[in-house]
């Protein structure tokens, strides 16, 4: 998620994203495994856009969400263009705080981001708790946290100003994001690796087969759930495919009680091999 097109532009180019037709007011760009939404300014806009995108793409817990954009810095400790990975995000108005899980190595500076509902200038520094300020991060995080685990939600901000009252040109904003694409991509690639080993042990084909068997044998909801559990345990314990269940695809139970007999046969096979 980005707030502006100028933030999105270098990402759209880098990931070769194509605009998709939408019935909502949001601009969405996507490729096979990346989707980007432009939220507009503000906490609420960020939250709505994030929730919209994650719902539209039916995210799984192994997907990751990013808010990439520019931010102001409260001190000059970090120079203009520094990429920041936020390990704490404060919503200034509500004082709610969010903590993404920082599990993997990265080459970004870490800091606390504070999200305001209005632009922030130098004369307000005494009211700021964070090291960096923006207008979307907290909204993005709160919405993303309803869908994803904390190790798959990332706020990456590029320092664009030190709370001066001057306005940045769109070209400069794009340039700041563009310069940091290598470091952002490294982070994204490592997050892909992080999520690789945490899929479901049952494949889509396994689920299809179990569903078919459940229907053929007229199994109850509870028995279907048990069937899936036994199948999972079987694959984990014996490191084998579910090929042993294929013969049951050709069996049809005439009654529930007949289905139960077949269910017991399957159970014995999966539990005791």
């Amino acid at each position: 998620m980005t707030a502006f097109y100028s933030e999105a532009k270098p990402l759209i180019r880098y990931f070769c994203l194509k605009k998709i037709p939408q019935f909502s007011k949001y601009e969405i760009y996507s490729s096979q495994d990346v989707a980007l939404i432009i939220s507009g300014t503000g906490v609420l806009a960020a939250a709505i856009a994030t929730a919209h995108l994650l719902t539209l793409y039916q995210v799984k817990s192994t997907d990751a969400a990013f808010n990439i954009g520019i931010c102001g810095a409260t001190s000059t400790d970090h120079k203009h263009g520094t990429p920041v990975l936020c390990h704490k995000i404060i919503h200034h108005e509500t004082k709610r705080t969010y903590y993404p899980d920082i599990l993997i190595k990265h080459h970004l500076v870490e800091g606390t981001l504070e999200t305001f509902s209005h632009p922030v200038y130098k004369n307000m520094v005494s009211t700021i708790e964070g090291n960096f300020v923006d207008m979307e991060g907290a909204g993005f995080y709160e919405a993303a946290a309803s869908f994803l685990p904390p190790h798959n939600i990332y706020c990456v901000k590029i320092v664009s100003d030190f709370l001066e009252e001057k306005k940045l040109s769109q070209r400069m904003v794009s340039e700041l994001i563009h310069q940091n694409i290598p470091v952002i991509c490294e982070l994204i690639n490592n997050i892909k690796l992080l999520n690789m080993n945490f899929g479901d042990i049952l494949t889509e084909n396994d689920y299809d087969m179990l569903h078919q068997i459940s229907q053929n044998l007229r199994l109850s909801v509870t028995m279907t759930h048990q069937l899936k559990q036994f199948a999972k345990q079987y694959k984990i314990r014996y490191q084998k495919s579910l090929a042993c269940l294929r013969p049951f695809l050709n069996v049809t139970a005439k009654s529930k009680s007949e289905g139960k007999i077949y269910f017991e046969q399957i159970k014995r096979q999966l539990v005791h091999e």
Partner: protein
């Protein structure tokens, strides 16, 4: 993964979350001094980090963070039914640290806590004062290292030493410090005391290799126990959990023989035996995310909300291990 785990994950304790109210507590300062390069993050309440929804315990284990917090109430809890009370009437346990640095496959903490991060309640003085009130009512038997391994963690926070020193001043208090670690040197400078039991969990080396990641070998544990016995400490051995693994008879026989070839059986205070068991909800939580453990995906049977091996297997495991131990130690010293 193409990239090795070591290259991908940050070191453990790369980040330390600190509750605002204990920023200047002496234990906080000690921990921060121990990890000068850790990123420090201020939090209002430890649960803001520890109890976030959808955390993945098993991913977090690769890069555990430390959370320094204050415990506000309920410092001492009555012991639960699934824990052995060793014949003590007033059995309690306490958790000054939540979670453990070891990664045992069978550990119930993986299903009990929402996070693998380690919480240290720095206000140990409040634990002592609640115990003080309890001791005025009756004697207390207290397990101080159930939901963690305090001795393994002693170099980060010296709670084991502090508990031992506290117990020495309170003869009505019996404490059990349970561990798998060989960090005995961290408490060796303290004189042994009658009311303190050092309890070591022992497993066959094959089970340690397979299911007790990051823990010391059986031989190292036994050498460490021998030293503590020689120094005059009361020692308990815990063959718990006994696991129904391939060639289990061979492995447990070897383990028990090795144990008593190194340790003088007559100097062991007592021994506890227990098979793998876990509350239903904890196992359910673990199975959701841990898909690489045949041990935890065994078709256990559930009895009164606790999953364990079927009765017949449980009996075989217990009988075999009991008989083996009984050939070295009298029955009154063995607790089931």
């Amino acid at each position: 993964m193409n990239k090795s785990k070591d290259n991908l994950f940050m070191n453990s304790f790369s980040h330390i979350y600190i509750e605002k109210s204990i920023a200047t507590h002496p234990i906080t300062k000690k921990v921060l001094h121990r990890f000068p390069h850790a990123t420090r993050i201020e939090v209002n309440h430890y649960k803001d980090v520890f109890c976030r929804t959808r955390q993945n315990f098993f991913l977090q284990k690769n890069s555990r963070k430390l959370i320094l917090a204050v415990k506000k109430d309920r410092f001492i809890y009555p012991g639960t039914k699934v824990c052995q009370n060793f014949g003590n009437e007033h059995f309690y346990y306490t958790s000054s640290v939540l979670n453990c640095i070891y990664e045992c496959d069978y550990c119930y903490l993986q299903g009990m806590y929402p996070s693998a991060n380690i919480v240290v309640f720095v206000n140990i003085e409040d634990f002592f004062s609640e115990l003080e009130s309890l001791l005025q009512k009756h004697p207390v038997y207290l397990s101080i290292s159930y939901d963690t391994d305090l001795l393994a963690f002693e170099n980060v926070v010296p709670f084991a030493s502090m508990w031992i020193q506290y117990a020495r001043r309170h003869p009505d208090l019996q404490i059990e410090l349970r561990t798998k670690s060989v960090n005995y040197s961290a408490i060796r400078h303290l004189p042994p005391s009658e009311n303190i039991v050092l309890a070591w969990t022992l497993s066959p080396q094959e089970a340690i290799n397979e299911f007790e990641q990051k823990t010391p070998s059986l031989n190292a544990r036994l050498k460490c126990i021998k030293q503590s016995i020689n120094d005059g400490w009361k020692v308990r051995l815990c063959f718990d959990p006994i696991l129904y693994i391939e060639k289990w008879q061979e492995h447990y026989k070897q383990c028990i023989q090795e144990t008593f070839s190194i340790l003088p059986a007559e100097k062991i205070k007592d021994i506890s035996i227990g098979v793998f068991r876990m509350p239903r909800d904890y196992l359910k939580n673990i199975r959701k995310n841990k898909i690489d453990s045949p041990l935890l995906h065994y078709p256990f049977e559930c009895k009164n909300g606790i999953y364990s091996y079927p009765e017949q297997i449980t009996r075989q495991l217990i009988d075999f291990v009991y008989q083996m131990i009984h050939s070295y130690v009298p029955s009154e010293k063995i607790y089931l």
